[in-house]
């Protein structure tokens, strides 16, 4: 049989993938529009260097989704940055092994 390999190379790839598919399933945007935007981001990133198909691919994916959500007014860049920092602080202050939470 085929050699075993993970479907997603990193957990954040899977999370990002699922988030995007879920938003599409919920009718927040249609898939062809998404694909066109993502293609454009990949093409732009690929102008300056060879993309590796792993982190590079999902970094372009994330940038596309962030831009789309900001345009729709659902997640403005400033708010995302603020929550991101809050999560980072939460991870840093939480003892290893405990559940990480934004409260506290």
């Amino acid at each position: 049989m085929t050699r075993p390999e993970p479907v997603f190379e990193a957990p954040w790839h899977a999370q990002l993938f699922a988030l995007t598919v879920h938003l599409n399933e919920a009718g927040r945007f249609d898939w062809p529009d998404w694909a066109a935007r993502f293609s454009a981001t990949l093409a732009r990133h690929g102008l300056t260097r060879d993309l590796n198909g792993g982190d590079d691919y999902f970094t372009a994916w994330l940038e596309t989704l962030e831009t789309l959500l900001a345009e729709k007014g659902w997640a403005e860049a400033a708010a995302v940055a603020q929550i991101r920092d809050a999560w980072e602080a939460a991870y840093l202050r939480t003892p290893h092994g405990d559940p990480v939470s934004l409260d506290g």
């Binding site: 049989m1 085929t2 390999e5 479907v7 997603f8 190379e9 954040w12 899977a14 999370q15 990002l16 993938f17 699922a18 988030l19 598919v21 879920h22 938003l23 599409n24 399933e25 919920a26 927040r28 898939w31 062809p32 998404w34 694909a35 066109a36 993502f38 293609s39 990949l42 093409a43 690929g46 060879d50 993309l51 590796n52 198909g53 792993g54 691919y57 994330l62 989704l65 962030e66 959500l69 659902w74 997640a75 708010a79 995302v80 940055a81 929550i83 991101r84 999560w87 980072e88 991870y91 934004l102």
Partner: protein, 185 residues
Amino acid sequence: MRVKALETILTEKGLIDPAALDEIIDTYENRIGPRNGAHVVARAWSNPAFRDALLTDATAVVSELGYYGRQGEHMVAVENTDEVHNMVVCTLCSCYPWPLLGIPPGWYKSDAYRARAVREPRKVLADFGVTLPEDTAVRVWDSTAEVRYLVIPQRPAGTEGMDEAALMDLVTRDSMIGAGLALKP
């Protein structure tokens, strides 16, 4: 962390259901994958009428088997023979038939694979351990969101008596994008 931030914001606004995300990951990790495509190939090997229909209108045929949905549209099946070996590369994205093959591996999405497959397909095949006869032509298809290809690998010799379920085990993901051959029994 940036993904987590988006999740938090969208959850707070009621735009997403966080439980649904785990469900989607589970589906794509465990239920949607190359076994679906292998099912299609095994049936094409076993059933000439199905094979003909698949080569004529792949999207309709695979939809009937329940393999449709996001990125499952605009399917074209191409058949490997003694004369020609088909290989698929992806131009940008959104060109991989998820319902049939699952999520593509990282190397398939890399610029290096695409560029080399177009320039020197035989060398790339050799990297995958595949050596084709000199007189077999190699045709490289550029997959797009408008046309997504499924390669029907050649049925291996010695499989005459095998049923569909047994044949499915011989059909690898790589063989359905032309980067490999079907396994020998």
